[in-house]
Symmetry: C2
Subunit: 235 residues, 2 copies
Amino acid sequence: MKITYDGTNFSGWQKQENATTIQGTLENALKILLKEDISCVASGRTDAKVSAYLQPVHFDTTKMIDKTKLKNSLNGILPQDIKVLDIVETNLHARFSAKKKTYLYKMYISNVDLPLLKDALKISPTIDIKLMKKFIKKLKGTHDFSGFKASGSEVETNVRTIYKAKLVKKGMYLLFYITGNGFLYKMVRNIVGTMLNVGEKRIDFNFLKQHLFDDYKSTFTAKPDFLYLLNVEYQ
Amino acid sequence: MKITYDGTNFSGWQKQENATTIQGTLENALKILLKEDISCVASGRTDAKVSAYLQPVHFDTTKMIDKTKLKNSLNGILPQDIKVLDIVETNLHARFSAKKKTYLYKMYISNVDLPLLKDALKISPTIDIKLMKKFIKKLKGTHDFSGFKASGSEVETNVRTIYKAKLVKKGMYLLFYITGNGFLYKMVRNIVGTMLNVGEKRIDFNFLKQHLFDDYKSTFTAKPDFLYLLNVEYQ
């Protein structure tokens, strides 16, 4: 399935007792419709308040399914915050078959809070965008991203490859796109947090760039509210 | 003052007993700060749920005001949904000196509800945009817009001049901009409602265009949630 969600009012993707999650909500809806217990696997877990324009999800079933009918029924019973865009039959594993993921972090440049701009982080017009661009150039390639990982998460390797990282100004929006073969826990938010502190000159970029992938340890985790999973590529 | 607001949770601009309005909220904040009763006049009243990217508002006071300080203090005590962008001293009357107003109605083209697109009306990909464009071309110029006025509102004349009306496709958004010397009560929403019904071919455009400004009476009032006051020009 390709699903999309506004994560604002959810405690993230992963099912938890006593918390409303995307996975839990989706599995409940599938159970009602398919009358069997369904386990959903997403391309990756999104944190509390993180949204997805597109999140691939797979599940296994032995039932014969009318995919269009299931999509419409799911969209009928799911809350407004989660919708199914498409359902196809596939042998792909939503997580293990994923080759590239793209996240988007939305910022907007303003001196004052703008009530109608709810989807982006307000940043000051004095921020140094050129310096931010210099920083993100350094991210491309294959590196050990330990310094951008939230502590307490254990994985086999902290090495990830970043294929693309760009900062695009669109009207008053400043949009950060990052594509990689995978991301460590809170890695995108730590990259954005560091980027913002570079732009605000609270981190010396000339010092930072020497130590980015050895002894730098990010203590700046950008708010999850403005992070969006944008696309996942397979094969 | 130039103010901006998300009207979703307000009962419109105009002050009312037992309802939360933009005017009421703003006047309360000014009373707290200036310690006198203040009456605010907007360029025009916006309906319940209608928002404004920019709404000019004036008030009279005999007090000396530090305008930057007042702006910051107002933004400190106003709710997140209303913010002051600028305060200047002026002889202009927010309503009577206004020469042109521009409204924006946001739509987006999609077969499925998209949780992350909250600011626009979902319209079907099968809608006939060319026909909608033909309809809005007919609006330009000076006409009697009685057929697009909500019943029950009495004004001296129903004649208004439309300077610009355009429909712009931007990604999956379809944006309708309309600029006039003024608008009757619910006129923009009735224009949008009619435009949508023309596009969906529920109104025969060839018949409609003969009768637009004589015996046509709109019964289609588009939802207020996606209407935005965009700009007001003076002088």
